[in-house]
Homo-oligomer: 191 residues x 2
């Protein structure tokens, strides 16, 4: 998606350790109108007419998943990252290692909100090694729902989480794949 690549070049920053920051429009300050454009692109890449639920993980996936749900006219479910008192039993749980927080995190989703009747589009803002994405895939499998597709806004191609998922046959499409992010700037994978 050209507009997304341009936005990354214009506003993205590269921190030591090849950390890519896009928190000016994607995951801290959020440009909701631009997320609408990303959602439109997702609707071009996947057959969203059959989707019954958008699934994402808290917290930074929620804005894009919400705009997709709003535009596609389906509910959104977000997997939570810690057990709060407001979530009782009946949970799908998937333990992942969060590279952002450098610790194990359990993604949880109430069984009430995802079932074998669902056709699920996973939506997330960002993927590096793909740990959170695998947690979401696990949850879809546990629910017995059909996985229609996996849409990711920005993939760090040089960390290969996305490549591994594609090799395993998962229907993953990322709107911008960054193959290089260093002192020389961004290099995107050609489609």
């Amino acid at each position: 998606m050209e507009a997304l690549q341009q936005r990354i070049i214009r506003e993205g920053r590269i921190l030591p350790g090849n950390i890519v920051k896009v928190d000016g429009f994607l995951n801290h300050r959020v440009d909701a109108q631009f997320l609408g454009e990303i959602a439109d692109e997702i609707a071009r890449l996947f057959d969203v007419t059959h989707v019954t639920k958008i699934l994402t993980a808290e917290a930074s996936g929620i804005p894009l998943a919400t705009v997709c749900a709003y535009k596609f006219g389906v509910p959104m479910v977000f997997a939570k990252k810690a057990k709060s008192d407001n979530i009782e039993g009946g949970l799908y749980k998937s333990e992942i290692f969060s590279y952002t927080y450098k610790k194990k995190v359990t993604l949880i989703c109430a069984q009430d909100w995802l079932s074998s009747d669902d056709k699920v589009l996973i939506v997330d803002d960002f993927m590096a090694k793909g740990a959170a994405m695998r947690g979401l895939i696990d949850i879809v499998k546990m629910s017995g729902a059909e996985l229609v597709g996996i849409a990711c806004a920005i993939e760090k191609g040089f960390q290969h989480g996305g490549d591994q998922l594609r090799e395993e046959g998962y229907p993953l499409k990322s709107l911008a794949i960054i193959d290089q992010a260093d002192e020389n700037g961004f290099v995107f994978r050609q489609e």
Copy 2:
């Protein structure tokens, strides 16, 4: 907001300890279209034409704040609840006690995304004792921005966090105030 009260009566659940669960449409499974109706009601209650930013707290405030931002045509900023490696210095920080998680939590917001030029509408999904709301108000004060209003979807009136904020003069409006939630069901405050 009549439609919200009806939805709470129809789908809300009351757990021991007067815990109100509305995770079927508001904060786990999210009905994005219904959030659009709530956003329209918020636009009737506040003069959103002058707002430059929507502010909320992760995670459950994000869906409603995103839909408000999308509809009102302004960016949304969400305060985060933990320091990750992707957030450097230059932060507004407000320590709050989370009753949901039964521990102290620090709300953080990058100074880059909120300044004294902003006119802020705080939006949150739920308020009990108002701890998170006070954290967001703190952040607005630290930034020097103007606080245009505070919109909350569901307020637990019997925990009085909202009443205290209103007594202190804050421009808080909640779309449904639950004054009683027990074995006899829900009782809403009349407007």
